[in-house]
Symmetry: C2
Amino acid sequence: MHPAPPLSPTPRSTVRRGARRARTDRAELYAVLDAGLVGHLGVVLGDAPVVLPTGYGRRGDTLYLHGSTGAASLRAAAAGAPVCFTVTHVDGIVYARSAFHHLMNYRCAVVHGVARPVTDPAERLLGLEVLTEHLAPGSWTATRRPDRRELAATALLTLDLTEASVKVRTGPPGDDERDLTAPVWAGVLPLRTVVGEPDSDPLLPPGTPVPARVRDRVL
Amino acid sequence: MHPAPPLSPTPRSTVRRGARRARTDRAELYAVLDAGLVGHLGVVLGDAPVVLPTGYGRRGDTLYLHGSTGAASLRAAAAGAPVCFTVTHVDGIVYARSAFHHLMNYRCAVVHGVARPVTDPAERLLGLEVLTEHLAPGSWTATRRPDRRELAATALLTLDLTEASVKVRTGPPGDDERDLTAPVWAGVLPLRTVVGEPDSDPLLPPGTPVPARVRDRVL
């Protein structure tokens, strides 16, 4: 096993603004991607960008993206248009002593590249397993697998994690020295995503138990 | 007062996939935007899209976007490049009886247009107030206002809510009839964002109380 290579910045994946927040450890890229459920896929249609929420899953250095075969942006991506795929977590609201220094704590991964449509049947099945398990761990084995018609109706793309950047902002506000004596509270209001009580499908037979893969799910 | 006009779809803001999930009430657009903290701004740089998380605030039918004056994507947007700005909330994980019907419940607003840099000093101050109050209600009056240098260091853009679409998915899974008798749990695992305990800046004098604007914040 070779260790995963660090993130090697290209001109467009070099973090220029707030460079002190850039991370170059590939494990941090994986962590940000693995902690998300939805990313934002950017594609150019005509001369304008289109940004749409997109489900994904990761296997090694490959991202699987999917959507309907009818979506124009996925069709463009499948045809070789450059894409940008971004996953962001907002971890806190940073209250400062000045309006200017208010901001968010966040983790953000940005991947640039050209996506590739997955056509091989075995790889399509693998990709759908990766996507399903990312969204709903345990569901691939617990539920009916896709049939031929469903497989055909799914646009499945891969995007390599070759050109990517990660930016992380943590910690207290960065107020100016001149403001530190102001009688104003400053600090961070942490945010997190939590799961609520599972809401059973009304079509289920009454008393159907909630399985552990759902009941014990933690984000 | 005229009532707000409905969302009038243009070709690119017409929801084609999952059209039953499209909403045309402008109040729903406002609700999705107002409930978010960060959007994803897409801009074309060279021939490739760049998608970056971006803070924003809304006033009527105007979105204010901001970032550093050094960010290439904001510079391109300020120079008149077409943009796409997308705000997404993931509201739940939909567990189905088949892998194919797994998906997310979500609310998503997509705005297309050309952004305009805000140069008028009074409007710049107004825009920063809108942005600050969106991120941290009450902070504009409680903290030091931006000075001339800080105002100059902020790229502030507006984007009109003229061309926008809203898509909302709610409710239980849409399983195939053939799967309804399968002995598999199905339903929704709701997700929500919650605030944690405020984390005071270590540089504050000990005992500084957390103000109500932070302590009582609900998302």
